[in-house]
């Protein structure tokens, strides 16, 4: 129980009785520890700007003086920002006032809030504070950040916003039923699949920063003579040593990244029946807590790389409305799980599980004219040229033939299935993706035909949804044109059917949709 001014003491819902008039909300400031954290963030920036002067002045005395000035200015800035930042939480909205010179007053009605995340970085954890990110689905990235307030306040605020007002029930995430959790062994296992060469980028970034301060010179390090000398060192033996080292480093850094991000991963059912959601907690240094409201979940995505899939591991994420744009509006619900472990999560989120592979309808054979034939033709021509004219073209030929083979393999896996409540779209040969699009989540439905598609009587069908990433749209490419038109018409009819059903269910405040028929365990179209 918190003593924050917006939490009421009522237990459970209060039907028909108006809630006691809440006390007049007062503007509040951020946690005082914010001053220290912000100061720690500002001073290095100031010093970085002052580094140019450090080159002019000499002697430690003057450098120390500069550092002292930077420290004091940092205190001033941090204090001014802290004093100017105030937020007021009332029954239906939060008002955030900020800005020292350019003042801003932002009003966020709770009804517009899509997502609330609580994030705790290392320093925040030392002070017992947290950063609250309120997302509204607008374009601004930091539209409602409270960085930072006391953890208890953050939780209370989140619960307050999520359930509107009137119903106050302490949410103790420890008591919530766990839907998915990862042991350390599982986490380690999953890290092995997340090969990453991120450390190279980190090394480069560090070097670049050092170069800024004149400690190392990038120009001196990376010049043609050095590259030539380096190529001289690059013998077979050094390659044999270096390549495994690079791979090992990649595995280790992937492992480190995965452990730092997914440590203590726990997905629980959150809240009460009025606003059910999935609460995800994870992180080693930066603890993050996100609640995915089930009503906001638009599309489910099950994906898996080639090796992980062979061993039976899958990743489940939900595309939500107004989620973090950095991740393309996608929230991971289970990063590394067996298919059977996804079942309770999907059931909780009111998503049907995919049907078995045999239920998927594949795109026609003539689509290969688009998926493989162009590469095959170029590849054949290049191979012929390699034998007849210039052997160097053989490399291009091989690449093109590989592309043709890949296109054929991908063509075999591309397809869709029409379930009782959702459309399933599968794509990808190496990395397999399977989208689960409930009929009532469609925004628009479109069928398009390019010039080549028209000749081949093919068409692309897209069910557009809210929060979809432009890069990975669940398109069904190269369906038979007549089939695409027919399917689009059926999807539109199913959209209206399920939408009115969802509305009736919403009015009755009953569970949103009837449970699906349970199928025996199978490959769910992912093999």
């Amino acid at each position: 129980v918190t003593d924050s001014p917006w939490s009421t003491d009522a237990k459970g819902p209060l039907p028909d009785v108006a809630p006691p008039a809440p006390p007049q909300p007062e503007p509040r400031r951020l946690h005082p520890a914010t001053l220290i954290v912000r100061w720690l963030r500002i001073v290095p920036q100031l010093l970085g700007g002052g580094a140019a002067y450090a080159a002019i002045v000499d002697g430690w005395g003057q450098i120390l003086l500069l550092a002292a000035i930077a420290g004091l200015v940092g205190v001033g800035i941090a204090l001014a920002v802290w004093l100017r930042f105030r937020y007021t939480v009332s029954a239906g909205e939060i008002v955030i006032e900020s800005g020292v010179f350019h003042r801003q007053r932002r009003v966020i009605p709770f009804s517009r809030v899509q997502d609330i995340a609580i994030e705790r970085r290392l320093l925040a954890r030392l002070f017992g504070t947290a950063k609250v990110k309120i997302e509204t689905g607008g374009s601004a990235s930091d539209e409602g950040d409270l960085d930072m307030i006391a953890l208890a306040d953050a939780r209370a605020l989140r619960d307050h916003i999520r359930r509107g007002h009137g119903v106050a029930e302490e949410s103790e995430s420890a008591r919530e039923p766990v839907l998915f959790a990862m042991s350390f062994g599982r986490l380690f296992h999953s890290g092995l699949f997340n090969f990453s060469l991120l450390f190279l980028a980190v090394i480069m970034a560090v070097l670049q920063n050092l170069a800024q301060f004149g400690i190392v010179s990038m120009e001196e390090w990376f010049n043609p003579e050095r590259a030539g000398a380096f190529a001289g060192y690059l013998t077979l033996r050094t390659t044999l040593i270096l390549a495994p080292l690079l791979i090992l480093l990649g595995v280790v850094s992937g492992l480190a990244r995965t452990v730092a991000r997914d440590f203590g991963f726990r997905l629980t059912r959150s809240g009460e029946s009025a606003a059910p959601g999935l609460r995800r907690r994870r992180g080693l240094f930066t603890l993050s807590e996100v609640v995915i409201p089930i009503r906001r979940a638009q599309v489910a995505l099950i994906e898996s790389g080639p090796v992980a899939r062979a061993l039976g591991w899958f990743k489940l994420s939900f595309q939500t409305l107004g989620a973090d744009t950095k991740e393309g509006g996608v929230q991971v619900a289970a990063p590394f799980a067996r298919l059977d472990e996804l079942r309770p999560i999907m059931a909780e989120a009111c998503f049907p599980m995919p049907p078995p592979r045999v239920d998927f309808i594949h795109i026609p054979r003539r689509a290969l004219w688009r998926w493989a034939a162009p590469w095959l033709l170029i590849g054949a021509a290049a191979t012929a040229a390699a034998f007849l004219v210039e052997p160097g073209v053989g490399l291009l030929g091989a690449a093109m033939l590989a592309a043709a083979a890949y296109g054929t393999l991908r063509w075999r896996k591309h397809g869709y299935a029409l379930g009782e409540r959702a459309l399933f779209v599968s794509d990808g040969w190496l990395k397999r993706r399977l989208w689960i699009i409930p009929f009532d989540k469609a925004q628009t439905i479109s069928v398009s035909r390019g010039p080549v598609q028209r000749r081949l009587r093919l068409a692309t069908l897209l069910v557009d949804t809210a929060g979809a990433s432009l890069l990975r749209l669940p398109e069904i490419v190269d369906l038979d044109a007549a089939e695409a038109d027919e399917l689009a018409g059926r999807l539109l009819g199913l959209f209206y059917r399920d939408r009115s059903a969802a509305r009736i269910a919403l009015e009755k405040t009953a569970p949103m949709l009837p449970p699906t028929t349970v199928r025996p365990p199978d490959d769910m179209g992912l093999s």
Binding site: A442, Q443, T444, S448, R449, D464, A468, L492, R499
Partner: protein
Amino acid sequence: MQTTAWPTDSTLSPLHPDLVWVMRIRGLLAAAPFLALALVLDLGPLRETPVPPGIVPGAVLLVALVLLALLPSRRYRAWGYREEEDELHIGAGLLFRARTVVPFGRVQHIDVAHGPVERRFRLATLILHTAGTRGSAVSLPGLRHDEAERMRDRIREKIRQDLV
């Protein structure tokens, strides 16, 4: 209340024929800078080369006129729409033909836009914004202005009913 028929080309109604002229004038305005550039080149640097005067601007003008004569009418024929009880069907695109259906319940907000050229012909463009990604703004040009406003009002009324 539900309409499941997916429109094929024949069932879409055409836009206002004046849209062809709107597209032509717009095309002319878009071509103007190229024409001006060709004229400047013709009077300036090209005089020092053996290219006879008038050839370059003439060629640019010819290409522009041919494109303006052919493309707008063909693009116009590719457009079409059908207003249903609960949704709007739109057909568009000459090279990449697309049919899109926007259920009114999914519309977030509606714009009726009319630029200077459209205003002269008393035409307007209806733009439906949804929460989707690729279909986040679906526009339908070439409507009579009063017709666009009538459609907007009707869709707005639909959204209001949908919210209740």
